[in-house]
Symmetry: C2
Subunit: 403 residues, 2 copies
């Protein structure tokens, strides 16, 4: 799929987040000029009149699982664990489901087009690496990524869904996944899953150092056990000089603790440059977004699972995710709604270390146009009538792909 770049286009009467009405000139896929509306000198640019609609940077989908969704495939009813939640039992359920599912590449494409249709043009996907599936998932998703490279930027996390120490051979597979093209190494509840925090983190950070990879660890452990591991990850990040290149996903423990402990944890995370990913999960405490942001922590978000063996929810819409983050965080004021929006845009771009992000001269012209007066209204109304532009070319409208 090759995107034919519109080489020189002026998007007239665009409403920016600060309320200003501007003309956005795009040249060779990047914003070349941003000028007050109606005051731009005429030239050869093709004109697209946005009639005052809101223009925002494309959303950042910071946590998704491209390999395990059944979106667009047959409905697979959720079955609970037999005796309370158990990751290993869920993984076994997932293996049975995947064996009966449509080809992985097809399911991944369904999810990608759902996300792009909603306005996400950059994404971090975790991809399962374990002794049973080996590198099959990674190889498949790498091929899908290649086919969609003109449409969406995807970074991949080699994700040890079956643990590392408790699943012999996984460390070598993770190393191989990084060599194949995964940019980050993942982890999974070092304490509750592998029962060895230091041993698990030795492998994760060791491979990250060896391959120059980033780190993004799934951490579901709650309470003080979760907090302890957050501290360990932050300490290693700082010691290894990996500030800005490490994230903890979910970090439920940060949602369980008292204000004083949270303040300490926030300062530590900010100093270590460790980002926190939360999807404002359904019936679960989650990291306090406002308090962490106040401490200087980069908080980003993602859909997480979309209609898979873990839960049936997920819509691949990061604007709706901003709504959920705001709703569940009690964000009512405009600046709070703007903070929720920042989580799915600029903060996400920072966590994913994206280059040339935003509505700014020189940035890539990846943007979303929608009927909203301003960002707070967009966050509460979640308008679905959006047009998504990649490098200045329309790629989706009203949730449907245009090419």
């Amino acid at each position: 799929m090759v995107i034919a770049l519109t080489t020189h286009t002026r998007f007239a009467n665009a409403r920016l987040a600060d309320g200003s009405l501007v003309d956005l000139t795009v040249t060779d896929g990047r914003f070349s000029a941003i000028t007050p509306a109606g005051k731009t000198a005429e030239d050869t640019a093709a004109i697209v009149d946005l009639v005052g609609q809101l223009v925002v940077p494309a959303f950042v989908e910071g946590h998704i699982h491209l390999d395990t969704s059944f979106y667009g495939d047959a409905w697979r009813p959720h079955i609970p664990c037999t005796n309370g939640f158990d990751v290993r039992e869920r993984v076994a359920f997932q293996a049975r489901n995947l064996a009966a599912a449509a080809p992985m590449a097809e399911r991944a494409r369904n999810q990608l087009e759902l996300c792009v249709g909603n306005g996400s043009l950059a994404m971090r996907s975790h991809v399962m690496v374990d002794a049973s599936v080996g590198l099959k998932h990674v190889e498949t998703i790498l091929a899908v990524r290649e086919k969609y490279r003109d449409l969406i930027d995807i970074q991949l996390v080699a994700f040890p869904q079956g643990g590392i120490l408790s699943s012999p051979g996984t460390a070598e597979l993770l190393d191989e996944a990084l060599k194949l093209g995964c940019e980050l190494i993942g982890g999974l509840d070092p304490a509750s899953f592998d029962r060895d925090v230091n041993g698990h983190l030795d492998v994760v950070f060791g491979l990250a150092q060896k391959r120059g990879a980033g780190v993004d660890i799934h951490l579901h452990d709650g309470g003080t056990l979760g907090l302890f591991q957050v501290e360990e990850i932050a300490a290693r990040t700082k010691a290894l000089g990996m500030q800005g290149n490490v994230a903890v996903s979910h970090a439920y423990g940060l949602g369980d603790i008292q204000a004083d402990a949270l303040e300490k944890a926030g300062d530590m995370l900010a100093a270590a440059g460790v980002a926190i990913m939360t999807n404002a999960p359904g019936n679960h405490a989650f990291p306090p977004v406002a308090a962490l942001r106040r401490a200087g922590v980069t908080v980003f978000s993602g859909s997480d699972n979309i209609r898979d063996s873990w839960w049936p929810y997920g819509d691949g819409d990061m604007l709706n995710r901003a709504n959920m983050i705001g709703y569940r965080s009690g964000f009512y004021e405009d600046h709070e709604l703007e903070a929720a929006f920042d989580v799915v845009t600029h903060a996400g771009a920072k966590a994913l270390r994206l280059d040339g992000y935003g509505i700014a001269a020189g940035a890539r012209a990846d943007f979303v146009v929608m009927p909203a007066e301003h960002v707070p209204e967009a966050v509460v109304a979640v308008p679905k009538g959006r047009t998504v532009y990649r490098a200045g070319g329309a790629v989706a409208k009203d949730g449907k792909m245009l090419r």
Copy 2:
């Protein structure tokens, strides 16, 4: 606005919630026959082919405030209370906002069309009655209701937003509101607002008895104070023989208590026939939907405030509300997603004592058609491409009014 009834129409190939594919025949606004698809004898009916789309009864919007929303009017940024949440301060903020807002009838119509567009054709709205606004809100909303009577069934609650005992003259105004046409009398935190549980409930239940009205009380008080008032309301309901005609809205206290106390409360509410309304509020504990349903309690839902002085959220979409109830309740299995859907359909109809509700021969043909395989998928996907039928005639499509 008069709806021209299509006197005899067959909606062919309708997918019902039980998975069956049927033809729905509508005669003079009601379902006259439901027969297996393709096996219906030909007659003079006009044919609408639903091509296997899901058909569900129109949603029940069980708690809304038609008088106070700014939906469709200017954006009014939220301002927090100066020293923690305070109902009186919020009411004062609301009064300032309303003084500057578009005419109430216009704002009420905006909300009604939003709700109908999303598929709600029955509604319970609270309408403010207090010493400062008197009966103005009630009179305005009664007139709006009259204009929309062919489109949506609306029942009104005379709502003492400023308290009863602490706002002299309110009891008389509430009585007058019931005489004017409100079907229910409301209440507001008898303990924390009026500081007199029995005194407040004496007025509420006294007027309900005097006028043969139903009761729907706003109860935000949490913990044991909330639980105590729930018990008092249930005891009075039973003593007065008002089973099935009383509801408690919000009832946050039920979300705070331990399993054993909850079980006792659930049994008491079920025996007293007191329904519980929850909108699965943002950052707040709320009544446990599954446990209450198991106890036999009717749990219904509503948008509550839509973009008003209390919060900026709300979309008037009861299918999205079912999604939120499921998401926040940890409902993952099909039967759980179906329970969330029941809350916004049949349970709502029971709480509102609607006659002739549902997809059944003899019931009014108020239904919603949407592209979903079944109810669980509808709850997680929240498809917006719906067609809404009132008495067998299409009134809205893709969220937009057709007439």
